[in-house]
Amino acid sequence: MSDEIIRLKKAFMFQGLPEDVLAALAQKVNRRALTQGETLFNTGDEGDALYIIDEGWVKVTRQDEKGDELLLNRCGPGETIGEMSLLDQEPRSANVVALSDAHVMELHRDGFFELLDQRPDVAMGLIRSMSSRLRFSGMYFQKMGEWSRKIAEGDYSFMEQIQPLTGGDSNSDEEKASQMLSAFFLMVKGVKEREESLKRQVETLTLAIDEKKRRQEFEELTQTEFYTKLKIQAHELRQKRLDNKS
């Protein structure tokens, strides 16, 4: 069995395919290397291929109009990405960037549809994986709604409970969605803190002068012999300096 076939066998979408089909498929895929941080595609790009992750991890993100990144998902070995554009012929709906050095297998539109024509079980596998993505999206938006409501109520305590992902399949959709959303909500928290510090800035300091005390102190200081003399001296001195100038 060739390396290519072994790799294709690991893909969830191709599970259960006989080896001769995999061998035919192996002719149609290109293996591509991605270095960490490299973009596979961007939102709005034309999409004429799907990718099966062979090794490494990628993140699926979108950007809001301020350029802040919203993390939608993280995908690893065996998972398929980019199939949506092939099916609905719309441009890419998200950005995909390699989180680590990675290898993907690229399958172009024609090869993909040819395969779907021949193998209804591949179509079933694809539908299964898309269903599970939809479920995840459901959880993702449920969390987002829940947390947005808490923030509207001024409750940020949930942020302390967000657990880091342990990796692998042991994470539930809920844990995974929480993780994905945490960066976004931390940013929201940051915005709130910035606003508060701005509010602090406009605290006004109102100072008052006790006029009675002011007059008293002035009188105490000026009703001395020293002060009377000083005032005369100062006057003379200024006069002298004025005369010097002219």
Partner: protein, 261 residues
């Protein structure tokens, strides 16, 4: 004729000495003026440290002049000739800047406290200094509060810079000082806030309040500055850290003083 600029605050520790040293340095360095600095805080002198002077390097002092032991000219320490090799002060090399320090010897300080001195003689000395050294500016670092020598330095000033911290006590105390300065016909009254906690208050509002209360311009709001406190008065901060907010605001104050007619 050179101008006399006194730097004063009602309470102690507002930053008079640091401000005076920095204003003098900016005036000598940036504006290229001939500048003298007098420490009239005879009870608790401090500004000499900022110019790198200690007990060993200090020669004759203002105290010697006041008790008739020497001429005032002999007390003037030429900062430009003794500038350090490194640090902010090194920029003062060759500049026309003189310091007239007060004695830091305990015995000489206690004599001043016990006997006092002739403020008329202090006045004469300062006038002589201005003409002998052909000074454009003579900055006077004062003792806080309104004792006799401080009243004198206010009386002979062409400009008085009052420093206050943004708090109630300084606001009240400054009112009395302003009244005294007006009563003594000081022609130019300038204000400066120091140790303002960044972003704590609405400083635009504070400025309006201060200018309305005292009828004098607030020429700078200098932030509370841990780097300056950390510097422990060992260098001229605005020379060592020209890009710091404190230094930027200080240069505004210096510009306001230079603009005094």
């Amino acid at each position: 004729m050179g101008k006399i600029v006194s730097i004063h605050s009602f309470r102690g520790g507002t930053g008079k000495s640091n401000t005076t040293a920095n204003l003098a340095a900016q005036t000598a360095l940036v504006a290229g003026k001939r500048v003298g600095v007098v420490d009239t805080d005879i009870q608790s002198p401090g500004i000499h440290v900022l110019f790198g002077l200690d007990e060993n390097s200090m020669g004759k002092t203002l105290n010697d002049y006041l008790y008739g032991k020497c001429a005032i000219r002999e007390v003037a320490y030429n900062v430009g000739e003794h500038a350090d090799e490194s640090g902010g002060r090194s920029q003062l090399a060759g500049k026309n800047l003189w310091l007239i320090p007060s004695s830091i010897r305990g015995r000489e300080i206690s004599r001043v406290l016990r006997e006092g001195y002739d403020v008329g003689r202090l006045n004469e000395g300062l006038q002589t200094l201005i003409s002998d050294l052909e000074l454009d500016y003579l900055f006077i670092d004062t003792h806080p509060g309104l004792n006799e020598e401080t009243l004198l330095s206010i009386a002979i000033s062409d400009a008085l810079l009052i420093i206050l911290r943004p708090d109630q006590q300084d606001f009240q105390g400054t009112a009395v000082t302003v009244d005294i300065a007006r009563s003594l016909d000081v022609a130019n009254l300038l204000l400066m806030v120091n140790k303002a906690v960044p972003n704590k208050y609405d400083y635009v509002h504070l400025k309006e309040q201060i200018e309305k209360a005292y009828h004098a311009p607030l020429t700078g709001i200098l932030p509370l500055n841990f780097d300056l406190a950390d510097n422990a008065s060992k260098d001229i901060f605005s020379l060592a850290h020209p890009d710091h907010e404190w230094s930027r605001e200080l240069r505004k104050v210096a510009a306001a003083i230079l603009a005094v007619e």
